[in-house]
Point group: C2
Chain length 244, copies 2
Protein backbone atom coordinates (compact mmCIF):
# COMPACT_ATOMS: atom_id res chain seq x y z
CA UNK A 1 0.00 0.00 0.00
CA UNK A 2 1.32 3.45 -0.87
CA UNK A 3 1.81 5.64 2.19
CA UNK A 4 -0.59 8.55 2.65
CA UNK A 5 -0.51 11.61 4.87
CA UNK A 6 2.51 13.60 5.95
CA UNK A 7 5.54 13.29 8.21
CA UNK A 8 7.77 16.06 9.52
CA UNK A 9 11.47 16.34 10.31
CA UNK A 10 12.51 19.43 12.25
CA UNK A 11 16.26 19.99 11.93
CA UNK A 12 17.48 22.05 14.80
CA UNK A 13 20.28 21.94 17.33
CA UNK A 14 18.91 25.29 18.52
CA UNK A 15 15.60 23.62 19.41
CA UNK A 16 17.13 20.57 21.14
CA UNK A 17 19.42 22.83 23.16
CA UNK A 18 16.55 25.06 24.28
CA UNK A 19 17.89 28.18 22.56
CA UNK A 20 14.59 28.64 20.77
CA UNK A 21 11.20 27.02 21.23
CA UNK A 22 10.18 25.35 17.98
CA UNK A 23 7.24 27.19 16.43
CA UNK A 24 7.29 25.43 13.06
CA UNK A 25 6.21 22.00 14.31
CA UNK A 26 3.05 23.28 16.06
CA UNK A 27 2.25 25.53 13.08
CA UNK A 28 2.64 22.63 10.62
CA UNK A 29 0.46 20.38 12.79
CA UNK A 30 -2.32 23.00 12.85
CA UNK A 31 -2.18 23.77 9.13
CA UNK A 32 -2.15 20.09 8.08
CA UNK A 33 -5.19 19.48 10.26
CA UNK A 34 -6.97 22.45 8.65
CA UNK A 35 -6.43 21.11 5.16
CA UNK A 36 -7.18 17.51 6.19
CA UNK A 37 -3.79 15.85 5.63
CA UNK A 38 -3.08 13.43 8.50
CA UNK A 39 0.31 13.82 10.16
CA UNK A 40 1.97 10.46 10.96
CA UNK A 41 4.93 11.66 12.99
CA UNK A 42 7.16 14.60 13.78
CA UNK A 43 10.80 14.21 14.68
CA UNK A 44 13.22 16.85 15.98
CA UNK A 45 16.81 15.95 15.14
CA UNK A 46 20.21 17.65 15.42
CA UNK A 47 22.06 19.25 12.48
CA UNK A 48 23.86 15.96 11.76
CA UNK A 49 23.78 14.49 8.28
CA UNK A 50 23.47 10.81 9.23
CA UNK A 51 20.66 11.40 11.73
CA UNK A 52 18.74 13.55 9.23
CA UNK A 53 19.23 10.98 6.46
CA UNK A 54 17.67 8.28 8.64
CA UNK A 55 14.82 10.51 9.78
CA UNK A 56 13.96 11.56 6.22
CA UNK A 57 14.15 7.98 4.93
CA UNK A 58 11.85 6.88 7.77
CA UNK A 59 9.44 9.75 7.10
CA UNK A 60 9.25 8.73 3.44
CA UNK A 61 8.34 5.16 4.43
CA UNK A 62 5.61 6.41 6.74
CA UNK A 63 4.01 9.11 4.67
CA UNK A 64 3.53 10.40 1.17
CA UNK A 65 4.49 14.00 1.91
CA UNK A 66 7.57 14.88 3.92
CA UNK A 67 8.18 18.35 5.32
CA UNK A 68 11.58 19.35 6.65
CA UNK A 69 12.22 22.53 8.62
CA UNK A 70 15.63 24.14 8.94
CA UNK A 71 19.19 23.50 7.88
CA UNK A 72 18.72 25.45 4.64
CA UNK A 73 21.36 28.15 4.15
CA UNK A 74 24.98 28.88 3.33
CA UNK A 75 26.78 27.86 6.56
CA UNK A 76 28.42 24.66 7.81
CA UNK A 77 25.38 23.70 9.93
CA UNK A 78 23.07 23.81 6.89
CA UNK A 79 23.18 20.16 5.89
CA UNK A 80 19.56 19.43 4.99
CA UNK A 81 20.01 19.45 1.21
CA UNK A 82 22.84 16.95 1.42
CA UNK A 83 20.94 14.74 3.87
CA UNK A 84 17.73 14.70 1.80
CA UNK A 85 19.74 13.88 -1.31
CA UNK A 86 21.41 10.95 0.48
CA UNK A 87 18.07 9.73 1.87
CA UNK A 88 16.67 9.70 -1.67
CA UNK A 89 19.77 8.26 -3.32
CA UNK A 90 20.35 11.36 -5.44
CA UNK A 91 23.34 13.57 -6.15
CA UNK A 92 23.55 17.20 -5.06
CA UNK A 93 23.59 19.52 -8.07
CA UNK A 94 23.66 23.29 -8.50
CA UNK A 95 20.39 24.60 -9.94
CA UNK A 96 21.05 27.18 -12.69
CA UNK A 97 17.71 28.91 -12.17
CA UNK A 98 18.51 29.33 -8.46
CA UNK A 99 22.00 30.64 -9.26
CA UNK A 100 20.33 33.26 -11.48
CA UNK A 101 17.94 34.27 -8.68
CA UNK A 102 20.80 34.59 -6.15
CA UNK A 103 22.95 36.64 -8.57
CA UNK A 104 20.02 38.97 -9.17
CA UNK A 105 19.31 39.33 -5.45
CA UNK A 106 22.90 39.72 -4.20
CA UNK A 107 24.45 41.85 -6.91
CA UNK A 108 27.16 43.48 -4.78
CA UNK A 109 27.66 40.91 -2.05
CA UNK A 110 27.86 37.61 -3.89
CA UNK A 111 30.16 35.12 -2.17
CA UNK A 112 30.98 31.52 -2.98
CA UNK A 113 29.02 30.60 0.15
CA UNK A 114 25.89 32.43 -1.01
CA UNK A 115 25.79 30.17 -4.05
CA UNK A 116 25.43 27.14 -1.79
CA UNK A 117 21.77 28.17 -1.57
CA UNK A 118 21.52 27.02 -5.20
CA UNK A 119 22.51 23.45 -4.31
CA UNK A 120 19.70 20.90 -4.34
CA UNK A 121 19.11 17.17 -4.74
CA UNK A 122 19.07 16.19 -8.41
CA UNK A 123 15.58 16.45 -9.87
CA UNK A 124 14.54 19.21 -7.47
CA UNK A 125 11.73 21.53 -8.51
CA UNK A 126 11.35 25.13 -7.36
CA UNK A 127 7.86 26.37 -6.51
CA UNK A 128 7.57 30.12 -6.98
CA UNK A 129 6.26 31.96 -3.96
CA UNK A 130 4.05 35.00 -4.32
CA UNK A 131 5.69 38.02 -2.66
CA UNK A 132 9.15 36.53 -2.29
CA UNK A 133 12.14 36.08 -4.56
CA UNK A 134 12.95 32.84 -2.75
CA UNK A 135 11.18 29.76 -4.13
CA UNK A 136 10.21 26.59 -2.24
CA UNK A 137 12.67 23.76 -2.77
CA UNK A 138 10.94 20.42 -3.41
CA UNK A 139 12.16 16.98 -4.47
CA UNK A 140 9.48 14.45 -5.26
CA UNK A 141 7.07 14.88 -2.38
CA UNK A 142 9.72 16.16 0.03
CA UNK A 143 9.44 19.85 0.83
CA UNK A 144 12.58 21.51 2.23
CA UNK A 145 11.34 24.51 4.19
CA UNK A 146 13.57 27.03 5.98
CA UNK A 147 13.70 27.14 9.77
CA UNK A 148 13.03 30.86 10.13
CA UNK A 149 9.36 30.90 11.19
CA UNK A 150 8.20 33.74 8.89
CA UNK A 151 9.72 32.00 5.87
CA UNK A 152 8.53 28.57 6.98
CA UNK A 153 4.94 29.79 7.16
CA UNK A 154 4.82 31.52 3.82
CA UNK A 155 6.54 28.60 2.07
CA UNK A 156 4.19 26.13 3.75
CA UNK A 157 1.19 28.09 2.47
CA UNK A 158 2.61 27.89 -1.06
CA UNK A 159 2.97 24.10 -0.72
CA UNK A 160 -0.40 23.41 0.91
CA UNK A 161 -2.20 25.38 -1.80
CA UNK A 162 -1.14 22.58 -4.15
CA UNK A 163 -2.07 19.55 -2.01
CA UNK A 164 -5.49 18.00 -1.42
CA UNK A 165 -6.60 16.64 1.92
CA UNK A 166 -9.73 14.98 3.27
CA UNK A 167 -11.42 16.79 6.14
CA UNK A 168 -11.87 14.81 9.34
CA UNK A 169 -15.23 14.71 11.14
CA UNK A 170 -14.79 15.09 14.89
CA UNK A 171 -17.23 14.74 17.77
CA UNK A 172 -16.51 15.02 21.48
CA UNK A 173 -18.05 13.61 24.67
CA UNK A 174 -17.38 15.24 28.05
CA UNK A 175 -17.67 12.79 30.96
CA UNK A 176 -17.97 13.30 34.70
CA UNK A 177 -16.49 9.89 35.51
CA UNK A 178 -12.84 8.85 35.45
CA UNK A 179 -11.15 6.77 32.77
CA UNK A 180 -11.17 3.59 34.86
CA UNK A 181 -14.98 3.71 35.03
CA UNK A 182 -15.47 4.16 31.28
CA UNK A 183 -12.51 2.26 29.83
CA UNK A 184 -14.48 -0.95 29.20
CA UNK A 185 -17.05 0.64 26.87
CA UNK A 186 -14.45 2.79 25.09
CA UNK A 187 -12.36 -0.32 24.48
CA UNK A 188 -15.32 -2.26 23.11
CA UNK A 189 -16.35 0.39 20.59
CA UNK A 190 -12.73 1.11 19.60
CA UNK A 191 -12.16 -2.59 18.98
CA UNK A 192 -15.38 -3.03 16.96
CA UNK A 193 -14.83 0.10 14.85
CA UNK A 194 -11.13 0.27 14.02
CA UNK A 195 -11.63 2.97 11.36
CA UNK A 196 -12.99 5.40 13.93
CA UNK A 197 -10.29 6.95 16.09
CA UNK A 198 -11.40 7.17 19.71
CA UNK A 199 -9.24 9.18 22.08
CA UNK A 200 -9.61 9.48 25.84
CA UNK A 201 -8.05 12.37 27.74
CA UNK A 202 -8.22 12.71 31.52
CA UNK A 203 -8.36 16.29 32.78
CA UNK A 204 -6.90 17.31 36.11
CA UNK A 205 -8.50 20.71 36.39
CA UNK A 206 -11.12 21.02 39.12
CA UNK A 207 -12.62 24.13 37.56
CA UNK A 208 -14.00 22.02 34.69
CA UNK A 209 -17.37 20.25 34.90
CA UNK A 210 -15.92 17.08 33.36
CA UNK A 211 -12.97 14.80 34.12
CA UNK A 212 -12.55 12.94 30.85
CA UNK A 213 -12.78 14.21 27.28
CA UNK A 214 -13.48 11.54 24.65
CA UNK A 215 -12.85 12.34 20.98
CA UNK A 216 -14.45 10.35 18.16
CA UNK A 217 -13.24 10.99 14.64
CA UNK A 218 -13.03 9.65 11.12
CA UNK A 219 -13.35 10.80 7.54
CA UNK A 220 -16.60 8.77 7.55
CA UNK A 221 -19.29 10.93 9.16
CA UNK A 222 -21.83 8.10 9.47
CA UNK A 223 -19.33 5.85 11.23
CA UNK A 224 -18.60 8.62 13.75
CA UNK A 225 -22.33 9.02 14.50
CA UNK A 226 -22.74 5.25 14.94
CA UNK A 227 -19.80 5.19 17.36
CA UNK A 228 -21.29 8.13 19.27
CA UNK A 229 -24.61 6.28 19.67
CA UNK A 230 -22.86 3.11 20.81
CA UNK A 231 -20.74 5.03 23.32
CA UNK A 232 -23.70 6.93 24.73
CA UNK A 233 -25.68 3.68 25.08
CA UNK A 234 -22.83 1.92 26.86
CA UNK A 235 -21.48 4.64 29.15
CA UNK A 236 -22.69 4.74 32.79
CA UNK A 237 -26.07 6.50 33.11
CA UNK A 238 -25.62 10.21 33.74
CA UNK A 239 -21.91 10.22 32.97
CA UNK A 240 -22.15 12.30 29.78
CA UNK A 241 -22.08 15.98 30.75
CA UNK A 242 -22.51 17.10 27.14
CA UNK A 243 -21.47 16.34 23.59
CA UNK A 244 -20.09 18.48 20.78
Amino acid sequence: MEPTGAAAVIIGNEVLTAKVVDANGPHLIRRLREVGIPLRSLEIVPDEVDVIVEAVARARMRARYVFTSGGIGPTHDDVTVRAVALAMGRKVVRLPEMVALIRQKAVDTLTAEALRLADAPEGAVLIAQPGSWYPVLTVGDVFLLPGVPQLFRSQLDAVLARLRGTPVYLRVLYLNQGESAVAAVLDRVALDMPHVAIGSYPMFDRTLDYVVKVTVESEDTAAVETAMLRLQAGLPVGSVVRTE
Copy 2:
Protein backbone atom coordinates in the same frame (compact mmCIF):
# COMPACT_ATOMS: atom_id res chain seq x y z
CA MET B 1 30.81 3.57 22.90
CA GLU B 2 27.94 3.71 25.35
CA PRO B 3 25.32 6.29 24.37
CA THR B 4 25.06 9.39 26.55
CA GLY B 5 22.43 12.09 26.87
CA ALA B 6 18.70 11.73 26.50
CA ALA B 7 16.09 11.08 23.82
CA ALA B 8 12.35 11.70 24.02
CA VAL B 9 9.30 9.97 22.59
CA ILE B 10 6.03 11.89 22.85
CA ILE B 11 3.09 9.54 22.38
CA GLY B 12 0.10 11.49 21.27
CA ASN B 13 -2.56 11.25 18.59
CA GLU B 14 -4.03 14.34 20.23
CA VAL B 15 -0.86 16.30 19.47
CA LEU B 16 -0.49 15.08 15.86
CA THR B 17 -4.16 15.88 15.18
CA ALA B 18 -3.83 19.40 16.60
CA LYS B 19 -6.29 18.83 19.45
CA VAL B 20 -3.72 20.00 21.95
CA VAL B 21 -0.37 21.74 21.54
CA ASP B 22 2.33 19.60 23.12
CA ALA B 23 3.70 21.30 26.23
CA ASN B 24 5.73 18.36 27.52
CA GLY B 25 8.33 18.35 24.75
CA PRO B 26 9.29 22.01 25.19
CA HIS B 27 9.27 21.62 28.98
CA LEU B 28 11.53 18.56 28.81
CA ILE B 29 13.92 20.33 26.44
CA ARG B 30 14.21 23.29 28.83
CA ARG B 31 14.68 21.18 31.96
CA LEU B 32 17.30 18.89 30.38
CA ARG B 33 19.26 21.95 29.29
CA GLU B 34 19.09 23.35 32.81
CA VAL B 35 20.55 20.20 34.35
CA GLY B 36 23.09 19.78 31.53
CA ILE B 37 21.88 16.54 29.93
CA PRO B 38 22.11 16.84 26.13
CA LEU B 39 18.95 15.89 24.22
CA ARG B 40 19.68 13.87 21.06
CA SER B 41 16.22 13.79 19.51
CA LEU B 42 12.52 14.17 20.19
CA GLU B 43 9.92 12.22 18.27
CA ILE B 44 6.14 12.67 18.33
CA VAL B 45 4.36 9.45 17.35
CA PRO B 46 0.76 8.21 17.27
CA ASP B 47 -0.77 5.86 19.88
CA GLU B 48 0.25 2.82 17.82
CA VAL B 49 2.23 0.02 19.41
CA ASP B 50 4.53 -0.79 16.48
CA VAL B 51 5.46 2.84 15.84
CA ILE B 52 6.17 3.43 19.55
CA VAL B 53 8.24 0.23 19.78
CA GLU B 54 10.45 1.43 16.94
CA ALA B 55 10.76 4.93 18.33
CA VAL B 56 11.71 3.69 21.80
CA ALA B 57 14.22 1.19 20.41
CA ARG B 58 15.78 3.96 18.31
CA ALA B 59 15.86 6.34 21.29
CA ARG B 60 17.69 3.69 23.34
CA MET B 61 20.33 3.34 20.61
CA ARG B 62 20.83 7.09 20.50
CA ALA B 63 20.84 7.98 24.16
CA ARG B 64 21.34 6.63 27.64
CA TYR B 65 18.16 8.08 29.12
CA VAL B 66 14.81 7.78 27.35
CA PHE B 67 11.78 9.79 28.38
CA THR B 68 8.32 8.90 27.10
CA SER B 69 5.29 11.14 27.51
CA GLY B 70 1.73 9.86 27.35
CA GLY B 71 -0.12 6.64 26.70
CA ILE B 72 -0.13 5.73 30.40
CA GLY B 73 -3.59 4.94 31.72
CA PRO B 74 -6.43 2.45 31.76
CA THR B 75 -7.98 2.90 28.27
CA HIS B 76 -7.46 1.23 24.90
CA ASP B 77 -5.27 4.08 23.62
CA ASP B 78 -2.82 3.69 26.52
CA VAL B 79 -0.29 1.38 24.90
CA THR B 80 3.03 2.79 26.11
CA VAL B 81 3.74 0.12 28.72
CA ARG B 82 3.25 -2.66 26.18
CA ALA B 83 5.33 -0.85 23.55
CA VAL B 84 8.25 -0.13 25.92
CA ALA B 85 8.19 -3.76 27.08
CA LEU B 86 8.36 -4.96 23.47
CA ALA B 87 11.14 -2.48 22.62
CA MET B 88 13.16 -3.84 25.55
CA GLY B 89 12.32 -7.50 24.97
CA ARG B 90 10.52 -7.84 28.31
CA LYS B 91 7.17 -9.25 29.37
CA VAL B 92 4.40 -7.09 30.82
CA VAL B 93 3.74 -8.00 34.45
CA ARG B 94 1.40 -6.66 37.11
CA LEU B 95 3.32 -4.92 39.91
CA PRO B 96 1.97 -5.96 43.33
CA GLU B 97 3.13 -2.72 44.99
CA MET B 98 1.24 -0.70 42.37
CA VAL B 99 -1.88 -2.85 42.80
CA ALA B 100 -1.74 -2.05 46.51
CA LEU B 101 -1.46 1.69 45.80
CA ILE B 102 -4.42 1.61 43.41
CA ARG B 103 -6.59 -0.38 45.82
CA GLN B 104 -5.79 2.12 48.54
CA LYS B 105 -6.56 5.11 46.30
CA ALA B 106 -9.74 3.78 44.64
CA VAL B 107 -11.45 2.05 47.53
CA ASP B 108 -15.02 2.36 46.24
CA THR B 109 -14.51 2.65 42.52
CA LEU B 110 -12.03 -0.09 41.70
CA THR B 111 -12.57 -1.59 38.24
CA ALA B 112 -10.65 -4.20 36.31
CA GLU B 113 -9.52 -1.40 34.01
CA ALA B 114 -8.12 0.68 36.89
CA LEU B 115 -5.76 -2.18 37.68
CA ARG B 116 -4.21 -1.85 34.23
CA LEU B 117 -2.30 1.06 35.75
CA ALA B 118 -0.37 -1.58 37.70
CA ASP B 119 0.95 -3.24 34.53
CA ALA B 120 4.59 -2.57 33.72
CA PRO B 121 7.51 -4.07 31.81
CA GLU B 122 9.19 -6.80 33.86
CA GLY B 123 11.94 -5.38 36.05
CA ALA B 124 10.25 -1.99 36.36
CA VAL B 125 11.09 0.16 39.36
CA LEU B 126 8.75 2.71 40.92
CA ILE B 127 10.23 6.02 42.08
CA ALA B 128 8.17 7.55 44.87
CA GLN B 129 7.09 11.11 44.21
CA PRO B 130 6.83 13.62 47.03
CA GLY B 131 3.28 14.95 47.30
CA SER B 132 1.62 12.33 45.11
CA TRP B 133 0.40 8.79 45.61
CA TYR B 134 1.39 7.99 42.03
CA PRO B 135 5.02 6.89 41.57
CA VAL B 136 7.20 7.32 38.47
CA LEU B 137 7.38 4.16 36.37
CA THR B 138 10.93 3.40 35.21
CA VAL B 139 12.55 0.45 33.45
CA GLY B 140 16.30 0.54 33.19
CA ASP B 141 16.96 4.10 32.04
CA VAL B 142 13.56 4.49 30.38
CA PHE B 143 11.17 6.80 32.21
CA LEU B 144 7.46 6.41 31.36
CA LEU B 145 5.90 9.75 32.19
CA PRO B 146 2.20 10.57 31.87
CA GLY B 147 0.96 12.94 29.17
CA VAL B 148 -1.03 15.23 31.46
CA PRO B 149 1.29 18.26 31.76
CA GLN B 150 0.97 18.79 35.52
CA LEU B 151 1.82 15.13 36.18
CA PHE B 152 4.55 15.09 33.54
CA ARG B 153 6.30 18.03 35.19
CA SER B 154 6.22 16.75 38.74
CA GLN B 155 7.33 13.25 37.67
CA LEU B 156 10.13 14.74 35.55
CA ASP B 157 11.38 16.70 38.57
CA ALA B 158 11.48 13.48 40.58
CA VAL B 159 13.55 11.80 37.83
CA LEU B 160 15.95 14.68 37.17
CA ALA B 161 16.73 14.97 40.88
CA ARG B 162 18.43 11.55 40.50
CA LEU B 163 20.43 12.19 37.30
CA ARG B 164 23.70 14.06 36.84
CA GLY B 165 24.42 16.32 33.89
CA THR B 166 27.35 18.44 32.75
CA PRO B 167 26.62 22.12 32.30
CA VAL B 168 27.29 23.56 28.88
CA TYR B 169 29.27 26.78 28.46
CA LEU B 170 27.66 29.07 25.86
CA ARG B 171 28.84 32.29 24.25
CA VAL B 172 27.11 34.31 21.54
CA LEU B 173 28.23 36.68 18.78
CA TYR B 174 25.78 39.13 17.20
CA LEU B 175 26.72 40.07 13.64
CA ASN B 176 25.57 42.86 11.32
CA GLN B 177 26.45 40.92 8.16
CA GLY B 178 24.50 38.10 6.53
CA GLU B 179 25.35 34.40 6.67
CA SER B 180 26.82 34.35 3.17
CA ALA B 181 29.43 36.94 4.18
CA VAL B 182 30.53 35.07 7.31
CA ALA B 183 30.03 31.43 6.32
CA ALA B 184 33.66 30.85 5.29
CA VAL B 185 35.14 31.73 8.69
CA LEU B 186 32.43 29.88 10.61
CA ASP B 187 33.06 26.79 8.50
CA ARG B 188 36.80 26.94 9.09
CA VAL B 189 36.56 27.19 12.89
CA ALA B 190 33.78 24.57 13.03
CA LEU B 191 35.89 22.17 10.99
CA ASP B 192 39.05 22.77 13.08
CA MET B 193 37.26 22.47 16.42
CA PRO B 194 34.72 19.66 16.08
CA HIS B 195 34.11 19.47 19.85
CA VAL B 196 32.83 23.04 19.92
CA ALA B 197 29.28 23.38 18.58
CA ILE B 198 28.94 26.48 16.43
CA GLY B 199 25.44 27.50 15.38
CA SER B 200 24.48 30.24 12.96
CA TYR B 201 20.98 31.73 12.97
CA PRO B 202 19.83 34.37 10.51
CA MET B 203 17.28 36.84 11.89
CA PHE B 204 14.66 38.47 9.73
CA ASP B 205 13.58 41.17 12.15
CA ARG B 206 14.49 44.70 11.08
CA THR B 207 14.02 46.03 14.61
CA LEU B 208 17.15 44.15 15.72
CA ASP B 209 20.64 45.66 15.42
CA TYR B 210 22.06 42.35 14.11
CA VAL B 211 21.17 39.97 11.29
CA VAL B 212 22.98 36.79 12.36
CA LYS B 213 23.34 35.25 15.80
CA VAL B 214 26.26 32.85 16.21
CA THR B 215 26.33 30.48 19.19
CA VAL B 216 29.52 28.82 20.41
CA GLU B 217 29.24 26.12 23.03
CA SER B 218 30.91 23.16 24.66
CA GLU B 219 31.42 21.59 28.05
CA ASP B 220 35.03 22.78 27.67
CA THR B 221 35.15 26.47 28.63
CA ALA B 222 38.70 27.03 27.35
CA ALA B 223 37.83 25.58 23.94
CA VAL B 224 34.84 27.92 23.65
CA GLU B 225 37.06 30.94 24.43
CA THR B 226 39.63 29.83 21.85
CA ALA B 227 36.89 29.46 19.23
CA MET B 228 35.56 32.92 20.12
CA LEU B 229 39.01 34.46 19.59
CA ARG B 230 39.45 32.67 16.26
CA LEU B 231 36.00 33.75 15.07
CA GLN B 232 36.53 37.37 16.09
CA ALA B 233 39.93 37.42 14.35
CA GLY B 234 38.47 35.94 11.15
CA LEU B 235 35.17 37.77 10.83
CA PRO B 236 34.93 40.86 8.61
CA VAL B 237 36.17 44.00 10.42
CA GLY B 238 33.30 45.75 12.22
CA SER B 239 30.83 42.89 11.74
CA VAL B 240 30.58 41.94 15.42
CA VAL B 241 27.91 44.16 17.02
CA ARG B 242 28.53 42.63 20.45
CA THR B 243 29.25 39.36 22.25
CA GLU B 244 27.69 37.67 25.23
